[in-house]
């Protein structure tokens, strides 16, 4: 059968950011995929070499609107790794608190979008409704709903006062209760299970070969999580479970994220409890950074964020390497998309959480000529869900 190409992007309603995917299809089956990136390249690594260490934290905070804690945290970890800088106990809990709030809001964003893509708009709207109080918690802590400006080399910029803790508890109680409900919905709904089980499987071997990280690899049975494996901040002082599932399909990726949200709630509760009693400074005064090199990483919602910094003893890095988790997770599409129907391509591409919003249409080019017709990936995905719903519920 003659293979056709379906281009998605680089500027497409499916993609929140500019990326280009080219699906090669035979009939309804995807037989190959190619990806191109680079439309969002902004030269952060180069710019960072012209900034002081403190300015670099603000710079990397703006790499990603969702991971605006993960990059600064990995950045300060890298600088602190050069000189083995100690962090005050209270600052460690605050860092962990902010990091876990970010995990909740990022995972909720993904769960909502995933629901939207498969035709579960109710799930989308409910989950995003419960994401709102998380942003309010950020506002209480930092004064901002995004780009919190909390991280500093040697600690954090702002304290969490006792009156704020009481307010944060109120939001957390509500979020935790609702997240248990969402987890039950995702795991118990027969249509969701039928729609997502066995779709876009990333095998354990492929996850290891592509060096995938985060929920993408943990849903394929790869048990690594930086928070546990190289604990920084307060992660060695709190109890939590690393969620690992074996099947590598979209369903397991969704369940990993939902259960991680509940674990994050547990971590936040422990941090708030400790912040009631852990007194002292929130920032060690770091006057200079020695010549040397340091590695910093943090388990962002999408996986390991990696920063490498080399210092020559001045107040600026001479090299600042940044690797975001999507950089290693996106290439796994090569393994997970082959052999799947077009109707599953959308949710499979979404399953690694590569920052996109929603899809409407793509242009189908036959043999690279100008002959084309409109197809609707979102419609195709939703129609499959509807077919399954009718089979399950019989109407």
């Amino acid at each position: 059968m003659k293979a056709n190409k379906i281009p998605i992007g680089p500027f497409h309603p499916l993609l929140e950011e500019a990326e280009y995917f080219e699906l090669k299809v035979e009939g309804e089956t995807v037989v190959d995929i190619d990806m191109e990136i680079g439309w969002m390249h902004r030269g952060h690594e180069y710019i960072s070499e012209m900034k002081t260490f403190t300015q670099s934290i603000y710079l990397v905070e703006r790499i990603c609107g969702i991971c605006s804690t993960s990059h600064p945290l990995a950045c300060v970890h890298a600088v602190e790794d050069i000189d083995n800088i100690e962090i005050p106990l209270r600052a460690r809990y605050i860092r962990t608190l902010v990091g876990e709030l970010e995990r909740i809001h990022s995972h909720l964003l993904w769960i909502g979008l995933a629901g939207h893509f498969i035709g579960y708009d109710t799930l989308w709207m409910w989950v995003w409704k419960y994401r709102e109080p998380v942003l309010e918690m950020f506002e209480i802590i930092s004064g901002n709903r995004n780009h919190y400006g909390m991280m500093r080399v040697g600690g954090v910029a702002k304290d969490v006062e006792p009156e704020k803790i009481t307010e944060l508890y109120k939001h957390l109680d509500m979020i935790e209760k609702k997240m248990v409900m969402v987890a039950n919905v995702v795991r118990d709904d027969p249509v969701l299970r039928s729609r997502l089980k066995g779709v876009g499987v990333l095998t354990h071997e492929a996850a290891v070969a592509y060096c995938a990280t985060g929920p993408t690899s943990r849903a394929s049975g790869v048990p690594w999580d930086v928070r546990r494996d190289e604990p920084t901040d307060a992660y060695d002082l709190v109890d939590f479970e690393v969620i690992v599932l074996p099947n590598g399909d979209v369903y397991d990726k969704a369940v990993v994220r939902v259960l991680e949200v509940i674990e994050s709630c547990k971590i936040i509760r422990q941090c708030l409890e400790k912040l009631k009693t852990a007194q002292g400074s929130i920032l060690n005064n770091v006057k200079e950074i020695s010549p040397g090199e340091g590695i910093g990483r943090y388990e962002a919602p999408r996986g390991e964020v990696f920063h490498y910094i080399r210092s020559d003893g001045t107040n600026r890095p001479i090299r600042h390497k940044v690797r975001a988790p999507s950089f290693v997770n996106i290439p796994t599409f090569t393994a997970s998309c082959k052999g799947i129907p077009i109707a599953d391509a959308l949710i499979t591409l979404a399953s690694v959480d590569p920052c996109y919003c929603c899809t409407e249409r793509s242009l189908k080019i036959i043999d690279s000529s100008c002959e084309s017709r409109q197809i609707d990936l979102l419609k195709s995905s939703r129609e499959k869900t509807e077919r399954i719903r009718r089979e399950v519920h019989g109407n």
Binding site: G38, E45, C211, E230, I295, F306, F327, V328
Partner: protein
Amino acid sequence: MAEIEQFLKDMGGKITNKIEKEKRLYFNVTNDDLQDIADYLFNKMGCRLSTATAMEMYHGIEILYHFSLDKTGQYFCPRVIIKDKKNPKVNSISSIIEGAIWIEREMFDLWGIDFIGHPRMEELLTLHHPGTVKQPLRFREGA
């Protein structure tokens, strides 16, 4: 740590300039030994390749690989120094680690390092850039 001791026992003859810090092991390897080291770290020890960092230094172009042994949180960082700055070449490890394909393409793109044996040696980030500046992170006189 037992893993470091075993690594040094098996591969010690191929490494120089070892710098050991808490959970970090930096060392130099030659281009000829790079694939053996990568194979040992990835396939025998079960390390994950986090990424690789290229740097232009006075003495040449450095490539620092970051292998994470996740079960212990230990990093193994082999460093290859390419002295020929005008025509930098190094052996590709993408035949050993598929995850290295994009990592090496990025270094080819931004630093102009040619990875010998790479299946698709073309730009990753600047492929569609309208400008003509090649290898934007290389040092340029007066830039």
